[in-house]
Symmetry: C2
Subunit: 344 residues, 2 copies
């Protein structure tokens, strides 16, 4: 499966307009790179594709640097060290880092972290124990702050972040309602993750009425991954002193015109609600805490997760585009290589 002779690398062929199609991605072949001093050569095992990457494709900076046309795409990667040139790792070590959409990449040792393959499946380090899990952890704990007896609503509820966020709110003792895009996802939320109610937004015309049924006491804490019309409805049901954690707005990321919607600020006066955007990177000093706590909950069975794994680096663009079509349940990953097949 893995091409061991050359390295395949996805680059940004052009900036997309609207939903990215295959013309946006170019798969180049190049020699496997040599690690410079202090660097390691890493073979990709799993590549993470995430909604935030759509922002990187814009000219205008998102909260991080834009990707440049002609340069490799980047993402969270769990990989195996093939060769260490004084990077502080041994060949065969499993590491995580922000690397290329590629079979192989080099990186400074300081940009890589060791991963313990015996503690959890490797893929989990890109999902429930990785960036999405930590995003849910800090968004719930520090921003949305659901309390026992409160009602917590999450959008993108069957996704990598939302599925963890809802379960953490449940652990806090809140009533948890999730919006997701299929009957299968709703069943996953209700039957497997213990949500109190799931709402299938794809078959629901009146989100506010659906909320009145699922969250009859209103919405005390809202974890928003999606934005758009679902969020409009949730805002009409916020309670006094409600907290809104704005994590993502995937419904808007592919918009070509400035999206408009009902003005919401007057609602905030009536409710004295707080709306706060957050980035997981702002909690960097507490990543250890989050990963440890999430790991304990996974080990105890209190926190469950699913992954959607697409096979083959060449299919990474499809996996990425599928995020916007709601094709994934749980964390969307691309399986690129198998462990111990470094081809040397």
């Amino acid at each position: 499966m893995v091409n061991t002779e050359t390295n395949r690398v996805f680059t940004l062929a052009r900036r997309p307009t609207g939903t990215p199609d295959e013309d946006v991605f170019e798969l180049a072949e190049e020699p496997i790179p040599e690690p410079g001093p202090g660097e390691a050569l890493v073979r990709t095992l799993y590549l993470s594709v995430d909604p935030y990457m759509r922002g990187r494709m814009r000219e205008r900076d998102s909260y991080a640097d834009s990707w440049n046309v002609g340069e490799p795409l980047r993402g969270g990667v769990v990989g195996e060290v093939v060769e260490s040139n004084g990077a502080g790792f041994d060949a065969g070590d499993v590491v995580i880092g922000n690397l290329h959409w590629a079979d192989y990449a080099t990186a400074p040792g300081t940009a890589l972290s060791a991963v313990d393959p015996d503690r959890a499946p490797l893929s989990a380090y890109l999902g429930v124990l990785g960036m999405p899990g930590r995003t849910a952890y800090f968004g719930v704990r520090e921003v949305a702050r659901p309390q026992a007896g409160e009602t917590f609503v999450v959008t993108g509820a069957a996704g990598a972040v939302g599925s963890v966020a809802g379960q953490l709110a449940k652990l806090n003792g809140a009533r948890v309602v999730g919006f997701a895009g299929s009957e299968g996802k709703v069943a996953f939320l209700e039957d497997e993750l213990g949500f109190d109610a799931g709402i299938n937004y794809a078959t629901t015309d009146d989100y506010a009425a659906a909320l009145d049924a699922a969250a009859p006491d209103g919405v005390d804490a809202y974890f928003d991954n999606v934005g758009g019309e679902i969020t409009d409805a949730v805002f009409t049901r916020l309670t006094v002193d409600a907290r809104v954690a704005v994590c993502g707005q995937i419904a808007l990321y592919n918009a070509t015109e400035l999206p408009t919607g009902p003005r919401k600020l007057a609602t905030l006066i009536e409710t004295r609600a707080t709306v706060e955007g957050f980035l997981v990177s702002d909690f960097g000093e507490r990543f250890g805490e989050a990963t440890r706590q999430l790991g304990e909950w996974v080990a105890s069975g209190e926190l469950r997760y699913r992954e959607t794994v697409t096979e083959g680096l060449e299919n990474a663009p499809d996996a990425f585009v599928g995020l916007f079509e709601g094709e994934n349940v749980g964390k969307q990953l691309v399986a690129v290589g198998d462990r111990g097949q470094a081809g040397e």
Copy 2:
């Protein structure tokens, strides 16, 4: 000026659609009421008209009870006690309370507070030392929280709340920029109140460009009284960890259709900004602190204020409607009676 034979009382004739016109207000004549046990009869000296009252005219509850058709309108009143029926006041005492738009009203003594006529002009108790001043005080201090060296932007800057909010931000050491609706108001902000810059929104096409000139480092703290397109522009200039205090949305209060505008939540992710609505009533336990502190600043000359006084109860509707046309500078009041002319 005051009709001492009968009492004039404005009632809500019908609920307005859009901007209230004179058909909304009905001026009834009735006998001067008798205070019941524990009540006082109060003669109105100044009546406050405020933008929030538009919300009371709706069927749907605002954050407080709607006004009912056929019942007296209410507002902040500074008045003189004519007769106390065990209310704990003496005839001639000056009091403040939430009373009718009327020449006279009765109220339980517990719903009235004494006002010291020697400490400040009576009208100030409805403005800089009253609800608008306290609204600015808590909105700046607890919600927008401008720090030294930061940039603070306020809309409705020449109004009762905005003019105080900007000065308090200035006392905190912030750069202060205010939006107001005329050259005269801008001059008032810059020359009299010490704002760093005023922007005349009535003659400005591109609010964002005007902000870039007046607030070149972006907006760290935003105190919003107005909403609408100015707020849209300010949101595009928020800095990382900016705070938005939503105090009012006067641009929208007379809307007959659900107002729409650019969706803003994605901005909050990029900036990790916090948007929080607030009501001064939530800070009720600290009103004494606010009034004392505001009084000290007024006495020291650090806090300046203006009032727009409309003469005659019969003109209260005009004064109210004028709020939405930006006719007032500083606090809009209605002078209803003079002290010591209780007509007994």
